[in-house]
Symmetry: C2
Subunit: 181 residues, 2 copies
């Protein structure tokens, strides 16, 4: 069975507060970036589909603002569907990590090229780690609602997985540098 996860990402965000498509994009970019992404071509059509299905409604804010900002809110039906999804266990986690695939096939290019690639990736991860730390700090400070504990936990996941990856890269670079190939 296929399931449109975009639908549930949107629904979940709308449980926090009513949002426009643009708001959703921003939230994903600012807070979920390290474990979620959406493209425009998926986001806007899905918003329309969810409206048709009555899982969300377009708030009538024409009076309060002149901006072309379509603000959506989740409906009771939407909440029910979100909870159904939350309780489903599918585990189908499809892993496709192109970086590891390239490393696995490393013998097809020179050792030095691979080492350079690994170093670049490592730097990128260090940068990411910094961002995740900032997100986590911000969340800890602003912590007030019952939701924030979950946000902090996911932020910590980003931090600890980035840390583990960085130290693996470090080790791997050393191993390759020492290796006689």
């Amino acid at each position: 069975m296929k399931q449109n996860t975009t639908k549930y990402a949107i629904l979940g965000l709308l449980t926090i507060e009513p949002l426009s498509g643009y708001d959703i994009k921003k939230m994903i970019k600012n807070s979920l970036a390290y474990f979620w992404s959406e493209s425009n071509g998926q986001l806007y059509p899905t918003l329309n589909q969810l409206t048709k299905d009555n899982w969300i409604v377009l708030l009538d804010n024409a009076a309060t603002s002149k901006k072309p900002s379509n603000c959506y809110a989740i409906t009771d039906l939407g909440r029910q569907e979100l909870q159904k999804w939350m309780r489903r266990e599918e585990e189908k986690s499809v892993h496709r990590d192109e970086n590891l695939l390239k490393l696995f096939f490393g013998s097809n290019i020179s050792k030095e090229e691979t080492i350079l690639r690994l170093k670049k990736r490592k730097l990128k991860l260090i940068e990411n780690l910094k961002k995740y730390r900032e997100i986590a700090n911000k969340l800890e400070k602003e912590s007030h609602s019952s939701q924030s504990i979950y946000w902090i936990l996911t932020a910590n996941y980003g931090i600890s997985s980035a840390r583990a990856a960085i130290s693996w890269y470090q080790k791997s670079i050393l191993i390759l540098e020492k290796a006689k190939i």
Copy 2:
């Protein structure tokens, strides 16, 4: 620009030795499972496409065997294309982790339900870790070719990322259990 990564996964595996579609499926399942997957509906059409493009060739093994096993080998052109891909840096790594998404939206179901989910995931990861260790051990023992260093490194990645995830799950479960929500 979109790129068909399946193509390169196939090419890479064929640099090890000539393989049939079924062999490729098995290798992915046995050795790459924790960072790569392919479905039948993607694999077989891609094999045909690669043959048309002359990146791989169907070996004529009709004489040596009566099995309907189509054995493919990579061509020089295929090797070149693989190397081009290996040297490309795209970084586009699209993260979409449904488990984290569900945790992020945790406040929509009871704390206890979330804890149960986390515990199940943790058990699953412990199981996976065991498998990765077996793969790594096997690789270390059979280590002979210049390729095996790369295989061992990727296996280690699986191990260290699983370990980091497990300890994060452990911590998160404790934090949630203590939390008053």
